[in-house]
Amino acid sequence: MAAITASEVSATALPADSGHIDRARLWTVARTDLKQLIQAKDFWIPMLILGSIFFLFVPTVLLLAITRVGNVQVVEQLSTTLEVLPQKAQEAIQGDSDAGRAAYAMAVYLFAPVAIVVPLTISTAVGAATIVGEREKGTGEFLAHSPAAVREIYLGKLIASLVPGYLTTLLGFGVYSLVVNLIVGPDVGGWFFPTQEWWVLMFWVVPPFLALTLSLVLRLSARVKSTAAAQQASGLVTLPLIMVAYSQSTGALFGAGSASFVIGAVAWVIAIIGLSRGVRAVTRARLLGVADGI
């Protein structure tokens, strides 16, 4: 090792902190967190089961019950229910038979909340443990002494929390599309899913709700004393948010295309504000567990 000499101490002008975000470091933090998640089978197996239940098993059973079992009473009840949908949504329903129309409506409109609940649940579980977990395991000390800026750590952890939930949702969305097209497609004249509204929901409405939720969850994770406390607090904070997202996602599908874009745009603005404020919650003192209040 080339040791520093006395003259170099004063001769070397070290640059001041610039606030610049080093993307390589940011991705390193995110990638390392994700690598640890992949190693944690006790985390991703339940996550996979959750996604399967919502995107595969429940839709398959319900859609098969409508289209194949031919339970007339259930179909009639669903057809009656469809009458409460907005006129525009009713006009968009395809299908030659009552069963086909009921299955179409269920596939396109009634499963929308699933696309919100799954990613929020998974990402909240990951995000709640991410900063307090570093502190509990003692690895916060390593991060605090590392050259990584707190903004890089925050954003890296945000991405690492967002990816599992959103990726599961996108995978589930693919599986769900396949299930819907295979089961309902023959009754409505061929493959029809995803509809335009679902594309908007998945790529414009869901991400900001996810980011907003995580901005709150990471803030909590930085402030509480234990992972258990973070999980509890996150549940309380995100439950109302899940309900809002639930209703808004449904509205996005029922409303006109412009409504979806507006809902998404508003969610993005709020999410960006939430994220920019959330970054302040992560400090080196909190990584070390010595900040006042921890």
Binding site: M1, A2, A3, I4, T5, A6, S7, V9, S10, T12, L14, P15, A16, D17, D22, A24, R25, T28, V29, T32, K35, Q36, Q39, A40, K137, G138, T139, G140, E141, F142, A144, H145, S146, P147, A148, A149, R284, A285, L287, L288, V290, D292
Partner: protein, 330 residues
Amino acid sequence: MATATRDELVHMRGVCRRFGHVDALADLDLTVSVGSITVLLGPNGAGKTTAIRMITGALDPDAGEIRVFGVDPADHGQAVRERCGVVSAKPSLYDRLSGWDNLAYAAELYGLGRHADDRILDAAAQFGIQDSLDAQVGGYSTGMKTRLALARSVMHRPDLLLFDEPTSGLDPESSHAVLELIRDFAGGGSTVVMCTHLLLEAEGLADRVVVMEEGTDLIAGTPDELTERYWPGAVVRMDAERPEALDRLARREGVLAYERDGTAELQLDDLARIPDLVSELTADGVRLTRVEPRRPTLEDLYFAVRDGRAFAEGTRPAADDAGLTIEEVR
């Protein structure tokens, strides 16, 4: 306010930091010279870890001045941290990841780029863990984890190494091995700051010792300086077949202090008196079994300061000696 001199890698003056109602650091002065091994010695809660955290800028002080590499880590934290290697009391490793992944993570955060793989292999070989890099760290022994943490701390070739109780939780053999590695490493000219509450660890390792308690520095200096300032000039241990026969020495000329607890310990005004004392005792028929001039260990110094023995007659340090006054020995 005094400013850092040219050869001071770390310069802390009057540094204070409070956590809630607890003063973690209270008016700490600390100087670390280029190429030295400085040992922060003190009981748990003395503020050693907080001092390390201040040096890297991981924590900001409430008051006082800090200069590391000539700059304030509060404003130049990233650049300072890039040049520091830290091993904390807990190894701070990711148990779910392999040894390689732990090192690779650090290599990327420290921006080693295309040199990363070579540096990882070099560091792992240096600490003898190259054959375990593929294994998950959760399965490592405590000693292996410490070696991995040490490898991680030196991989980016830092100018300043900060070791916080690096032998914590290790068995004596592993502790010895780790201290040897640190000694070898420091032998290469690196600047090292090591915290410990184990006095024996500091013995023979430290170029400079800073005894800390309740967030402040009690005394600081090289072991020789501390011995000169805080240890009675000449101490000799004596024993005899009938130890009580030694008690007469308490009244002899030149004996400043006498204490017998099993063996007798005498503080003399000059070691040259020993032959006369031995002749006198022998002439009186006392059969001596031990005569041993004693150089103090760090442990002796530590407790001498803590117990106030440094204030014994004739051992008070000069007020203007190297800027260290008796008032600083609190």
